[in-house]
């Protein structure tokens, strides 16, 4: 009996939903951070989808099958396969200094196909702030999509000459509701006057 219970506990531990979760789509996250003399101004975000999701989008939205999304196709894609994430703040958790920035709207949406993968690009305007540090995290709170921020190389910084900057990536623990806790990468940019 004791042996059986131990085995059962082991199996339970192995297969528990608090230990295992399962996204169905994958995104590689890239971004370009821009600042002017007054501080941070915007972030241009790029999502690079996995080949499987890309294929399903090509089937449905590249109507003329030319390997590009024209104006009409992009509009349909925006309406049907993008803008719903507005209610998830575009999967972005941004902090300027110690203040949270709630992302309610984005602009300049672009959808492209490159090397067999779907790219989405959009611009996130940042509020004017004296803050000299910016933190970017990106995750889907439903965990249907896993968003990966691979390294600092996935970020580009565009700042005027008055600033020098340094960057690093750390990890934070995020609670994904029923899926439990997961580490998520946080990308930091810190501006210093030269």
């Amino acid at each position: 009996m004791r042996y059986l219970l131990r085995i059962s506990l082991l199996v339970l531990a192995m297969v528990s939903t608090r230990l295992f979760a399962h996204p169905h789509s994958f995104i590689d996250f890239n971004a370009e951070v821009t600042a002017d003399e007054g501080g941070f101004t915007q972030i241009v975000v790029q999502w690079l989808f996995d080949e499987y999701f890309t294929e399903s989008i090509i089937i449905d939205y590249d109507v003329d099958k030319d390997g590009h999304f024209n104006e009409n196709e992009t509009k349909t894609l925006y309406d049907e396969a993008f803008i719903n994430v507005e209610i998830y703040n575009y999967f972005l958790n941004i902090e300027l200094g110690d203040s949270s920035v709630r992302v309610d709207s984005v602009s300049d949406f672009i959808a492209e196909l490159s090397d067999g993968r779907l790219h989405y690009q959009f611009t996130v305007p940042l509020p004017r702030s004296e803050a000299r540090s910016l933190t970017i995290m990106s995750y889907d709170p439903t965990y249907f999509i896993y968003i990966e921020m691979k390294s600092e190389d996935d970020f580009h910084i565009n700042v005027p000459a008055i600033w020098k900057y340094h960057t690093h990536i750390s990890e934070r623990l995020i609670n994904f509701d029923m899926y439990g806790e997961l580490p998520v990468k946080a990308y930091w940019v810190i501006l210093d006057a030269k």
């Binding site: 169905h24 994958f26 998830y88 709170p141 998520v184």
Partner: protein, 288 residues
């Protein structure tokens, strides 16, 4: 006895998961979407240490991504027998790891097995029926949308799956109520063929979103119906194995003296039925 009670409680708690899974990029009109609005900034725990189980979970996520990448890279090598076998092995492991995660009806079949003291053979058959149906339903959905209705697969499959889930949770709610009544009033093992197969069909016929992606891979990238069917069946077997890990535990434990006590058995039976009712109702409410 205390250990057995802890195991039972853990199993119920650990199996609690959603059958529902929708791509947040697509609007499905699920109430969940509006309920969750604005929560993303509120869940970060600054300076909290990263526990080992969180890292393990992330590792499993990256394995899934890795298996899918390998399968995609393998698309040119499917003509040889060795290439095909490697692809099938990848699909099997993907199905297994994928179904170990939340959803896929594990909570329903496990609660049912607890509630009815289901025999191991029946639990095994039920698990395999769910896993295979779950993946075959995904392939059928993609085939119907693409070839019969000429409808967008990516978004429409999500909408159709949501509608199927609404029906499935309604049926599961009814089965749970029926089982609860039988658990309360019956003196023997309260289990009928109708409720068993009703539960299997309700859970199994909800198409797996992961299998939808494998179907798209087979039909659109490989452009082969026979390979699609083969891969979907093998993925279904992988999922079945994962589901059976849950469903077999109640029958493995049923020989313990603790479970022979008629009062304990009655409590477990009622708890299992109540759990099916509770989870069906919660997710039905979230979808409607």
């Amino acid at each position: 006895m205390k250990q057995a009670a802890i195991v039972t409680l853990l199993l119920i708690l650990f199996s609690l998961s959603s059958l529902a899974a929708q791509n947040p990029l697509f609007k499905t009109n699920a109430k969940r979407d509006t309920v969750r609005s604005g929560t993303i900034a509120d869940t970060s725990m600054k300076n909290a240490p990263i526990p080992w189980h969180a890292r393990a979970k992330l590792k499993l996520t990256s394995w899934q991504a890795h298996i899918r990448n390998e399968l995609y890279k393998h698309k040119e090598d499917m003509n040889s027998l060795s290439g095909l076998l490697i692809a099938l092995a990848l699909v099997f492991f993907y199905g297994f790891i994928h179904a170990v995660g939340p959803g896929h009806g594990k909570v329903f079949i496990t609660s049912f097995a607890f509630s009815t003291r289901l025999k191991a053979s029946r639990a095994f058959i039920g698990s395999f029926a769910i896993g295979l149906l779950h993946s075959i339903a995904a392939l059928l959905l993609v085939v119907l949308l693409s070839y019969v209705f000429d409808s967008p697969v990516s978004r429409t499959s999500d909408i159709v799956r949501t509608r199927i889930e609404e029906i499935a949770f309604t049926v599961l709610l009814a089965i749970g109520l029926y089982m609860l009544i039988r658990s309360v009033f019956s003196k023997g093992h309260a289990h009928s063929n109708m409720s068993f197969w009703g539960l299997i069909l309700s859970v199994g016929l909800v198409p797996c979103p992961g299998a939808v992606m494998i179907s798209i891979y087979g039909l659109s990238i490989l452009q082969s119906m026979s390979l699609s069917i083969l891969m979907i069946l093998v993925m279904g077997l992988g999922m079945s194995l994962a589901i059976s890990l849950f469903a077999l535990i109640p029958s493995l434990m049923s020989n313990a003296r603790f479970f022979q006590n008629p009062i304990v058995w009655k409590i477990i039976s009622i708890t299992g039925s109540s759990f099916i009712i509770l989870i069906s109702a919660v997710y039905l409410f979230a979808l409607l």
